[in-house]
């Protein structure tokens, strides 16, 4: 919170924004994530990779504190178990961008963003700034349920950022984006984890991840996982184990064989 203090805090004594202890997630009787022990600190930008159904969305839901049947283990936000957080304080701690927005009522983009605001601090962005940064300024009076998939996805990202939480959990923030907007969102994300903030996003394209993230969590789908700095995880071995196909890298571009 205090911009003067954060620069002097020694890295080792910092409480992680997010910590999991033995987090185990199951779906349809299968263990997808087994005993995940993981720390995410302020300033880090994490991508979660894994094939379809490997449990990426499930992990993000569990980290956000939403109900996940058959879940075991602890999730701590800023050193405190998530179930001990009052619901209002939790909203300042973490925000979740779901893969699919649940639009049933006719709300405008502007209204949707206004409703999503929780924390107002000195470094929080206004709706106008966010909308121009994410190229949705021209949509502000449109109904959120009548946008294209890519537009709605950028509005959802703006909603998540409007909440002002320290940790953003993003379920596939660029899956519907055209190449130009993938770059735009990537550049915006690369600068969104400043100060006391961090984000965790599920994504699929290793080349994009290499440009945007500092760290990667790979889910292998059988319960095993591997977490570390982006250069360690984006390797031929780990990518092959993650996706089940061979990969080669040409000048920082990853190509599946």
């Amino acid at each position: 919170m205090n911009p003067a203090a954060q620069g002097f805090a020694p890295a080792a004594s910092r409480v992680p924004l997010l910590q999991t202890q033995g987090l185990t997630l199951k779906a349809a009787g299968r263990v997808l994530v087994d005993a995940l022990d993981w720390r995410v600190h302020a300033g880090e930008r994490w991508c979660v990779i894994g094939r379809n159904g490997a449990g990426k969305s499930l992990v993000l839901r569990a980290l956000a504190g939403l109900g996940v049947p058959g879940r075991a283990g602890e999730v701590l936000w800023q050193g405190r178990p998530q179930q001990d957080w009052p619901v209002v304080a939790a909203a300042a701690t973490r925000a979740l961008m779901p893969q699919q927005a649940q639009d049933r009522f006719a709300l405008t983009v502007e209204r949707t963003l206004a409703l999503s605001q929780v924390v107002v601090s000195s470094d929080s962005r206004t709706a106008g700034e966010l909308m121009s940064a994410l190229d949705i300024a021209t949509l502000s009076a449109r109904r959120a349920d009548q946008l294209s998939g890519g537009e709605r996805q950028r509005v959802a990202l703006a909603q998540c950022a409007m909440q002002g939480a320290a940790l953003m959990l993003l379920d596939e923030p660029v899956s519907f984006q055209d190449p130009a907007h993938q770059q735009l969102v990537g550049r915006w994300l690369a600068e969104a984890a400043t100060g006391e903030r961090a984000w965790i996003a599920s994504a699929h394209d290793p080349s994009w991840i290499g440009r945007v993230a500092t760290h990667v969590l790979a889910l292998f789908g059988d319960g095993c996982w591997q977490a570390g700095p982006v250069d360690d995880i984006l390797s031929e071995d780990v990518l092959e184990r993650t996706y089940g196909c061979a990969w080669r890298s040409v000048e920082d571009v990853w190509i599946p064989a």
């Binding site: 939403l66 109900g67 209002v88 939790a90 979740l96 779901p98 049933r104 709300l107 209204r111 929780v118």
Partner: protein, 310 residues
């Protein structure tokens, strides 16, 4: 930010129209402008119409958000069917109709609350379960009411059927309806932002720090009380609860606070106007007010829809 002026203007104009309708409803009819007649006969009836119209419109608004279904109406959850069973029981036993109706609505409401506990307790959006539970309760009570109609003595059958489609002619001077509608609207106003967030989805609202379970429970309780009060006063009047909030949404009103005030006013004026017509069109005979309202209102709404979808 857009200016709030259109909203204030809309509400002010509607308040004026509501007052005008009330005045007309008080002044028109057989006997003309007779002060004693107005105070003793018409005023209670107009007050009942206004209160019931508001209650049903607000219940519709609340249930549409609770069930995440813009087509929800106050009767989807089975209260009115429960009230019908109660009223018919009262008729068979020779007791007061409204006591039976109130008891029936209460039983149906409590049954729903009890059955819906798991659906409401889940943090995720369990609305399909809730609406299906309500539909099943409505089916059970509806079937019982139909069976009971076969048992009602012939000379009372006409009264029973009139009551089931909604009938203001026997409505009492109780101010409970008006007070309840005012309270309901005030509560919706005070929770306006939270209810708005609930429109984003139950999960989304919870992530934003809203106490979603309590909020959904409160919505259900307020809507149940409103429907029970309305049905005990004058039977199951249809249309107004489905159409008012939905109409304002289609007209571009998005905020719960604004919707609550507009529903309060237009529910009252709609039912007062419909009751006025029901009284004077074929006077001295009276038409069932619910049928009159739907007969005029539904084509208007269809025209509005057809025009809007260009």
């Amino acid at each position: 930010m857009r200016p709030r002026d259109p909203a204030i203007l809309r509400i002010a104009l509607l308040a004026l129209a509501t007052a005008l309708v009330a005045a007309l409803a008080l002044g028109l009819g057989s006997g003309g402008w007779d002060w004693a007649l107005i105070v003793s006969l018409r005023a209670p009836r107009v007050a009942a119409a206004a209160g019931v119209g508001s209650l049903l419109a607000l219940a519709g608004l609340a249930l549409q958000v609770l069930l995440r279904n813009p087509l929800a109406d106050p009767y989807v959850l089975g209260h009115s069917s429960g009230a019908s069973v109660g009223a018919l029981t009262a008729l068979l036993l020779g007791a007061q109709l409204w006591i039976g109706a109130a008891a029936g609505a209460l039983v149906a409401g409590l049954a729903l609350l009890w059955l819906a506990r798991p659906a409401l307790a889940a943090a995720d959006d369990a609305s399909p379960r809730l609406i299906l539970l309500g539909a099943m309760l409505a089916a059970v009570f509806g079937a019982i009411a139909t069976l009971m109609l076969a048992l009602v003595p012939d000379q009372r059958l006409r009264g029973a059927i009139f009551w089931m489609v909604g009938d203001l002619s026997g409505a009492d001077a109780s101010l409970w309806n008006l007070a309840g509608a005012g309270l309901f609207a005030a509560w919706l106003w005070s929770r306006g932002r939270s209810v708005d967030r609930l429109m984003l989805g139950a999960d989304a609202a919870w992530l934003l720090g809203e106490p979603v379970r309590r909020l959904r429970l409160e919505l259900l309780v307020f809507a149940s009380l409103a429907v029970g009060l309305a049905v005990a006063t004058c039977g199951s009047i249809g249309f107004v609860g489905l159409v008012v909030a939905q109409g304002w949404r289609l007209a571009g009103v998005l905020r719960t606070r604004e919707l609550a005030l507009l529903s309060l006013l237009s529910g009252a004026s709609l039912l007062m106007a419909a009751d006025l017509l029901a009284r004077i069109v074929v006077a001295p005979l009276e038409l069932p007010v619910g049928a009159v309202m739907a007969l005029i209102g539904a084509p208007c709404f269809i025209w509005f829809l057809a025009r809007g979808v260009k």
